[in-house]
């Protein structure tokens, strides 16, 4: 058996997966070839690495309690449908919505009060001038009282 074939079968040889005939040929080649022998030594260490990693996986007596705690947390009504990221987004949107609502609410409540005044005062110009003054300069120059008196 040549080096190429030996090396190709090396891991199967190490794992004991070759039939007796092939295993014998690989073994024969390795014992007489330093390059293939070095490869054999090197690759033989794979199983040791894997075994060491497996050995780290010891029984954890607290694992089931931790998982159950996470499950009961997830099953609370508010967190069932909301993943943590969605939850943060939902809170952010709610805060933003409330903020916008307060702003708009403030604006419209002001308008409403003014509309009531308009109905009683019967002067639409008052509002228009208050929010969108057409007169050039001074807000206080507008003769509200005169108009009011005329209409009455």
């Amino acid at each position: 058996m040549n080096c190429k074939t030996t090396q190709k079968l090396m891991l199967q040889y190490i794992d004991g997966e070759l039939n007796e005939l092939l295993a014998g040929e690989v073994k024969g080649h390795i014992s007489g070839c330093s390059e293939c022998y070095q490869q054999f030594v090197r690759l033989s260490r794979i199983q040791g690495v894997i075994d060491a990693e497996k050995a780290e996986c010891q029984f954890d007596p607290y694992l089931s309690a931790r998982v159950l705690a996470r499950l009961s947390h997830r099953n609370q009504p508010h967190s069932v449908l909301l993943s943590s990221r969605r939850y943060v987004l939902a809170v952010a949107f709610s805060v933003a919505a409330v903020f916008v609502g307060v702003l708009l609410g403030g604006f419209f409540s002001k308008v409403d009060i003014n509309l009531m005044q308009i109905q009683s005062d019967n002067s639409i110009e008052l509002l228009a001038e208050e929010y969108f003054p057409t007169t050039n300069d001074n807000f206080y120059d507008i003769p509200f009282n005169e108009n009011d008196n005329e209409n009455q």
Binding site: L11, Q58, D60
Partner: protein
């Protein structure tokens, strides 16, 4: 109590004690499977919890035709692969200049050498081999990697691996042969 009875208790009565029994029975198996995919033990521990959360949520869909262990292996494999994909996306994100670069570059999940050197009880040669093996395994096509891990970290038979992966026994044989050929190539090439 056998697995089927425990599963029925969990699904029908939300029996947490039954679920604890399942977790205690299968936790090392799940952890070792996840360990094959990830670079550090702590990642495997976190993934194990995630696997059992998903198991709990999917148990109502469990058909008692296959073994519970097969079902759990599938969840463990999928969870591990999804975790690695997410890590890969995140490291890609970092490589484009977002986030904290140095920490993520050295995080065990993206850097096997960082993970290997963070663990006690290994000599330099073992550390090097461990890092090289993890790197080589990451280069394997997904289905070869799954077959290799189920074979090496769980000692499952070809037939058992075939059941988990839902392929034929002949496919498993071929996957494992190719996985080993590729691993040897990666490991020897990385030494040259």
């Amino acid at each position: 109590m056998d697995d089927s009875t425990l599963v029925r208790r969990i699904v029908d009565e939300n029996d947490h004690k039954a679920f604890s029994e399942i977790m205690d029975k299968y936790q090392r198996m799940v952890m070792a499977t996840c360990r094959g995919f990830v670079a550090s033990h702590s990642e495997a521990q976190d993934l194990t919890q995630d696997v059992f959360i998903e198991l709990y949520e999917s148990l109502s869909g469990f058909r008692h035709e296959s073994k519970l262990s097969t079902w759990i292996y599938r969840i463990a494999v999928n969870k591990s692969l999804n975790y690695l994909r997410k890590k890969k996306r995140e490291s890609l994100f970092v490589s484009f200049g977002f986030g904290t670069k140095d920490r993520s570059e050295l995080s065990p999940a993206t850097h096997p050498i960082a993970a290997a050197s963070a663990e006690p009880g290994f000599g330099l040669e073992e550390l090097e081999m461990k890092a090289m093996l993890k790197n080589a395994m990451r280069k394997l096509p997904e289905n070869q990697r799954i077959a290799f891990i189920l074979s090496k970290y769980q000692d499952l038979s070809y037939r058992e691996i075939a059941e988990v992966m839902e392929v034929s026994v002949a496919s498993v044989e071929s996957l494992l042969f190719r996985a080993k050929t590729n691993l040897r190539k990666f490991l020897i090439d990385s030494k040259k």
